[in-house]
Structure formats: C-alpha cells, structure tokens
Symmetry: C2
Subunit: 174 residues, 2 copies
DNA sequence: TCGATTTATCTCGACGTCAAGATAATGAAG
DNA sequence: CTTCATTATCTTGACGTCGAGATAAATCGA
C-alpha cells in the first residue's frame, strides 16, 4: 500500500502537454505505450554500458544468449535466431558472419535440410556470454529495486497480456 | 478478477529455458525487462506500419510531435528536442536538416543565445503530424484493448516507477 | 576583467539494420 | 514426375544512429 505519488516522469509531462494542446483527443494510450518505448530506450543504454566492461556488443549478446539457453548442443538455425531476436534475416546473416569471424560461433550446413545452416556456440562464446549474463542480471535487479516482488509479478503479467498477440499470431520471418 | 492464464508468451519460454540451463541463476528480472524490450520492438514495427500510410517516418513523427505538443509558437531548441526524443545531438542535427529540407520545420538563430537555434513547426508540418497522431492513437488503443481501464492505469503506474530514476537524475545531453 | 568550465550545436566516419530481391531446396498436389 | 507455392538463407544498397571531437558562445569565480 503506497500513498505517495508526487513523482512525475517525462510521460506525465508529455501527457499533460497534449491535454493542453489537444483537449479533444484521448491520449491515455500514451500512458502505457510511451512509457514502454522510453523505458526500453533507457534499458538499451544501460545494457550497452554493462556489456562494455565485457567488451561485448549488445547485438552479440542477443545472439549468443539465444544459443546458450537453447542448451546442448547450443546450436540453432539462423531462422530460429532471428525469431528469438526480432531482427530481419539480412541482419542475422550479418551478425553470424561477424560472430563466426570472432570465433564465438561456428556455422555448418544442416545435414537434414540442404537449404539450412546450423549455428553453434563455441566454448569461447559460451564463456563470454555466461560472464556477461551474470553481470547483466545483477544490474537489471538493481533497476527493478524500486518494485516489490509482487509488483514485479503484476507488471510482468500485464506486459504478457500485451505481448501474447504478437508472439502467437505471427511466426514472422522478416 | 481473471482465472485463466494458460497463455504463454515468448518470454515465458525464454525464462523456462534459462531455468533449465542455469538453475543456479535467478532470472526473474527478465520477466519484466525482456518483456519491455520485446514489446517495444513490436510497437516500433507497428508504428512504422501506421506511419507508412501517412508517408511519414517514425523519426520524423517523434520530432514533429515534440514541437506540436509544446504549443504556440511550436518552437523548441535542438537540445530540448533531443532530450524529448532520447537521441544524440548528432542525430538531432541530422533530423532537423532533413525536416527543414522537407519544409516541415524551419530553423532560426536564437535571439537570446548566440550559440543556440530554434526549430519551429511549419503549417505543413503541423498538418502532417496532427493527421498521423490521430491515427496512431487509434491503433494504439487497439493494442491495449486486451487490458481493462484499471489495468492500464496500474501498468502505467508501475512503469512510471521504473522510469522516474532515468527521467530525473540525468538531464543527459548525449 | 580574465581564464576556466560548461553548454549548445554541428561535423564526420564507422557501423548496424532494414527492405527488397536473388538463389536454391523442400513440400504439396495432381 | 512436374509444377507451384513455400521456406531458408544470403546479397546488396540505402539509410539512420552513434560517438568523438570541433567550434563558439555563455557563465562562473577569483
């Protein structure tokens, strides 16, 4: 039970400005969606900073992480990787090229489908991602320190509701 | 009061995979923060699609919107604009250049500060942004249709808590 | 008033992403 | 078996963003 709410964020100001300028419009959708976008941008900056100390780029982490959590043998197709990371196929090809050049993944033809390719995490890649991930979790925990456990759960559940339509409907290849 | 929760999103699967692979780590921060990032990416795609029909880019909209809601005389400095849009100064210079070339804004020296510049929305820019904004709100309302009014408010409040530290502490110039 | 610091904007090269299209293999239908 | 639609990956060029640094004006302090 919290009683104080004197604190404003940028979105409060933004919404107030719109109400002033366009009182005819109902801008309440911004209360949620602008906050999601802005928070995501701030988080991305934090991630960048966190990874810098591990000499890793945030796009590298996204790919390596997907492979890592896939479990043995830490191998996925480019298609699976692009669905996990929400980037286009061209972007994923490019990312895999560079990760392979850095020795963090290997690429081999899929023996079951001659169109396909399989990307596998190397021991070096595994080591890198594990270190960075532990650090990221530590930092993310701090960012969430302002919320009680049950608030975090409530927040997660609400976000899930918004996310489900995206994650189910389209198996978008892009 | 809702009892059903059979529905999973991609983050549920992602968290389950991590628990399998690294049971020693507490990955609950991902429940919130991965969802924010992923949702933001999906929203960005939606925005792109929404603006396409108005023949407008999403970066253009961000700048024009900031000017529009500032009210008469619809004029802000590049510094104010970059803080509103969370981009770097180099990016903002570039954006203003292109918007000015398109006739949607004008740029003039700040009479009060010879280092400064003032960017003003033109009538054409105003017209464009008003049309696009109305459309965006309509689409965003649909995205939120899965949540009751009070759920949206709760969600907004929780997000605000996470956002406040970013929006207060740093007046980051970048 | 002078020098040092801060603030505001711009420049430029490196880089990552996207969109569209190319290639090639697979799967489905008759 | 042949044709057609689909799927998987890669190629390419255009584009927007970032980061670092340059310039110049304003502000602060002794």
């Amino acid at each position: 039970m919290t009683f104080s709410r004197p604190v404003e964020d940028e979105v409060d100001r933004l919404v107030a400005a719109w109400k002033q300028e366009r009182p005819d419009l109902d801008v309440t959708p911004l209360e949620v969606l602008s906050r999601v976008s802005r928070l995501s941008r701030h988080l991305e900056r934090e991630r960048r900073a966190a990874f810098a100390s591990h000499d890793m780029e945030s796009w590298e982490f996204d790919v390596l992480t997907a492979l890592r959590r896939a479990g043995e043998p830490y191998e996925l197709s480019p298609g699976a990787l692009l669905r996990a990371t929400l980037v286009t196929s061209g972007t994923m090809t490019n990312r895999i090229d560079r990760l392979a050049a850095a020795g963090l993944v290997t690429r081999r033809p899929d023996p079951e489908d001659r169109r396909g390719v399989l990307v596998r995490l190397t021991p070096a890649g595994m080591h890198r991602v594990d270190a960075a991930f532990a650090d990221l979790l530590r930092r993310e925990r701090e960012l969430l320190a302002g919320l009680e456990q049950h608030e975090q759960q409530a927040l997660a559940a609400l976000l899930r509701t918004l996310l489900v339509p995206f994650d189910t409907s389209d198996a978008a290849t892009h």
